[in-house]
């Protein structure tokens, strides 16, 4: 049995240490060095090297750090009465507030919550600082979102003079001290189990699921626990008699394929805790998007086009900041009844121009604006391509060079006189 103290970073074989052994406190008790109580004991803790790191209630934690008077109050980061909860602190969670919950619902559950408008720029900055700390441990860091990443620490023991678990515990401490937020660490043999481990012990957690116990630990869990099984899939699985992951895990590949199609065998493998995905630092951003929730539902195509245009401008800006461009466009809509609709179209040529993104999204929107009331509109770029592929000359599009020149002029004006200096008419509300 290995052991790690998360406070003084002592590692050792629990049970072999003199003091602990003498008192017989082999599998429990405080750290033999600093007497701290945060000791992780696990057979594989000193050998596992794949970690999933997730910040705890990231946006809310950053806000609480900046406004210490909010420390003991429920904090919700989100927008307006019609927006959704972007993040909520653990106090708010005890009242039933959840991430992505509509604001009105969250406020009904927790009326005294402090609501803070998100300051994405600030979170991106803090997220970047945390990422830099991660990258000082290993180059094998694959960011999954602004506040979440997987790290492959194999082969770093000699470099750090300590097993990955100790390196991670030290990293968690540094993030607390230097950035001022807490993280939860999941340590396991693969990415899937590391993610589940990180989720198991939150906030400020450090959880280990060994290779030997993965399948056994998963077996009694509900199928919905597995990432990728959403409510709809869960319902379907339970309906088919698969309530626990153990039942899914028992399927052989052929039977799984028969019941659940091509994805079936992979699903059963994941239910057994198998996951062959590697950590790929190059695969950072998978999608870039921008969306907005309306103050009042919208039905009219023309009315919907106004926020759509603004989101297209925002998307183009985000793409440029990331050095990417759009090879295709995703339109996202949410109806008044909370049903999501996403529609995608491939662009003839990659672009960074809001106008081209808008034209593609507008084509998709026309087919959806059938009298349905919508509460949210968003636009995303997919696939993402390097920015230097954007807006190359196109023999079938004689207007392209002028569009590019026009947009450059707009950007030059904005750089000089501010973002509001010039804008397309379609972004403004009609004159009464």
């Amino acid at each position: 049995m290995g052991a790690l103290c998360r406070d003084c970073f002592w590692t050792g074989a629990a049970g072999a240490t003199g003091a602990a052994c003498a008192t017989g406190a082999t599998a429990a008790g405080p750290c033999p060095v600093c007497a701290g109580r945060r000791v992780v004991r696990h057979a594989e803790v000193l050998t596992l090297a794949l970690a999933h790191v997730d910040c705890d209630a990231f946006y809310a934690s950053v806000e609480k750090r900046d406004r210490p008077e909010l420390l003991t109050r429920p904090v919700i980061v989100g927008g307006g009465t019609r927006g959704v909860v972007a993040a909520c602190c653990y106090i708010a969670r005890t009242r039933g507030v959840r991430s992505a919950m509509p604001m009105w619902k969250a406020l009904a559950a927790c009326p005294d919550a402090e609501v803070i408008r998100p300051d994405i720029g600030k979170y991106v900055r803090e997220g970047r600082r945390i990422r830099e700390l991660m990258e000082s441990l290993t180059p094998m860091v694959q960011p999954l979102s602004i506040d979440e990443a997987v790290l492959d620490l194999r082969g770093t023991e000699a470099l750090h003079g300590a097993p990955p678990a100790a390196v991670l515990a030290r990293f968690a401490r540094r993030v607390e001290q230097e950035v001022g937020v807490t993280v939860s660490v999941g340590l396991a043999a693969n990415r899937l189990m590391a993610k589940l481990a990180a989720e198991r012990d939150k906030p400020r957690g450090f959880s280990v699921i060994g290779a030997a116990e993965a399948a056994g630990w998963l077996a009694p869990q509900p199928v919905g626990l597995l990432p990728g099984i959403g409510p709809a899939m869960e319902k379907r699985l339970v309906g088919a008699g698969f309530a626990t992951l153990g039942q899914l895990a028992a399927l052989d590949a052929r039977e799984a394929a028969r019941r659940f199609g091509d994805e079936g065998p992979a699903l059963a493998a994941r239910a057994r805790g198998e996951d062959a995905r590697s950590v790929d630092p190059a695969r950072g951003t998978k999608s870039v998007s921008a969306e907005t929730t309306f103050d009042a539902d919208m039905t009219d195509l023309e009315a919907l086009e106004r926020p759509l245009w603004r989101m297209c401008e925002k998307l183009a800006r985000r793409l440029r900041e990331k050095g990417l461009c759009a090879g295709g466009v995703v339109l996202k809509l949410k109806t008044a009844a909370f049903a999501s609709r996403t529609r995608t179209v491939r662009l003839p040529g990659a672009t960074l121009l809001p106008e081209v993104i808008f034209a593609a999204a507008q084509g998709l929107l026309r087919r959806e604006a059938d009298g349905t009331a919508f509460r949210l509109i968003g636009v995303g770029a997919q696939p993402l391509l390097p920015a230097d592929r954007a807006d190359q000359a196109d023999l079938a599009d004689p207007g392209a060079p002028r569009r590019v020149a026009k947009w450059r002029a707009v950007e030059a004006l904005r750089a000089r006189f501010g973002d509001d200096a010039i804008g397309a008419g379609r972004g403004f509300p009609p004159k009464r």
Partner: protein
């Protein structure tokens, strides 16, 4: 309906119509060919996919009993194809739901039929413009533009050949244009009599392909008649009616560069062979072949991160170039598609390494190709 016909005659007629039939059909009747035998001894076959209808009329058939029915086109064609040479084929349909009997020598089969009333008829409407083109001219127009037709669905108006009447230096011409955004092909022929008032039309890719097959066999004139929504081609005993693409073709003239003054002329065979050899290094089709041009020297090269690199030099024996040195990259297949249409000598007109390039056949001024370079 009952008639007897030579296997070869039936096979040829079926071959003309059956390729219009889509292999996968959600509407069962579209898998069938309409067969009609008239009292006058004419056999008429029609197949359609609702966009194109092809009709073939075969005179001199021995008709015992006039009538009409529809039968699976692909099956009927397959059977006929496998009958022995010189066989006499009898098709016999008693009427109604009864199967169609096909007999040839000792072979007999019966095919399920679908009611003639369900077979969609394509009405061509009024076709105000009519003119004739020599089969060879039509083949040329198609061959030199077809490869540039786009397959991208979002810009459906590029999925065909744009044909229209215009003037070049005051002389009226019939022009065919196709582009997929990466390359453009523009071919002209003197405007035939009767075509002067024609609307610009976009002929869909599938129609172009069918037409090209039908035009292969004849040296006769092909009669065209068209409106702004439909076009009809009469090729001997075959009639093809097609819908046109309802869209606006881009103003392609604006993308054809003017003033490209760096002129490279190179022997076609030497060039296209070198492109093929050099491009073979990369299995990835979209990789560019780099052209490095210097005084009477052309070096073609290509590199692939997995396979290595290749290059070939063409010198003053086959290359003429006197302008400033230049490097430019093109997709190998795009180069081959164009050189396939060129006779002895290829002429490139460059502006610089990143601007659209014009390619022409040194001996023929009526065809012009524009190629977008790739970064190398």
């Amino acid at each position: 309906m009952k008639f007897t016909v030579d296997r070869a005659v039936l096979l040829k007629a079926l071959a003309h119509v059956q390729s219009v039939v889509e292999r996968r059909n959600t509407i069962p009747i579209l898998a069938n060919v309409l067969i009609e035998a008239t009292q006058q001894g004419v056999l008429r076959l029609i197949a359609t996919d609702m966009e194109i209808a092809v009709q073939e009329e075969v005179p001199g058939v021995t008709v015992a009993r006039a009538g009409r029915t529809t039968a699976p086109a692909a099956t009927l064609y397959e059977i006929t194809r496998n009958l022995p040479d010189g066989a006499r084929v009898e098709l016999d349909h008693p009427g109604g739901d009864a199967p169609l009997a096909l007999r040839a020598g000792r072979f007999a089969t019966s095919l399920t039929v679908l009611p003639v009333e369900d077979f969609p008829s394509m009405t061509e409407g009024r076709l105000p413009t009519s003119f004739a083109l020599k089969a060879g001219v039509l083949r040329d127009l198609i061959d030199r533009t077809k490869f540039a037709i786009s397959t991208e669905e979002t810009r459906y108006y590029l999925n065909g050949i744009y044909m229209h009447a215009t003037t070049v230096d005051g002389a009226p011409v019939l022009r065919a244009v196709a582009t997929d955004g990466h390359r453009l092909a523009r071919v002209e022929e003197p405007l035939p009599e009767g075509a002067s008032g024609m609307p610009g039309v976009i002929i869909p890719r599938k129609t172009v392909n069918e037409l090209r097959k039908l035009a292969e066999e004849t040296q006769e004139d092909i009669a065209l008649s068209l409106s702004d929504t439909k076009i009809k081609f009469a090729i001997g005993t075959v009639t093809l009616v097609s819908k046109l693409i309802d869209g606006t073709f881009p103003e392609y003239d604006r993308v054809i560069p003017r003033g490209n003054d760096k002129v490279l002329s190179v022997d076609k065979k030497a060039f296209s062979d070198a492109v093929k050899r050099v491009a073979a290094i990369s299995s990835e089709r979209s990789r560019p072949v780099k052209l490095s041009v210097d005084r009477n020297l052309l070096v073609l090269s290509a590199a692939s991160p997995e396979q290595g690199q290749a290059q070939e030099e063409l010198d003053g024996d086959v290359v003429e170039y006197t302008a400033t040195p230049l490097e430019i990259g093109f997709q190998a297949r795009y180069l081959s598609d164009i050189t396939d249409q060129i006779g002895e000598k290829v002429v490139f007109y460059f502006a610089d390494g990143s601007a659209p390039t014009i390619v022409k056949d040194a001996a023929k001024d009526e065809a012009l190709y524009v190629l977008m370079p790739m970064r190398v």
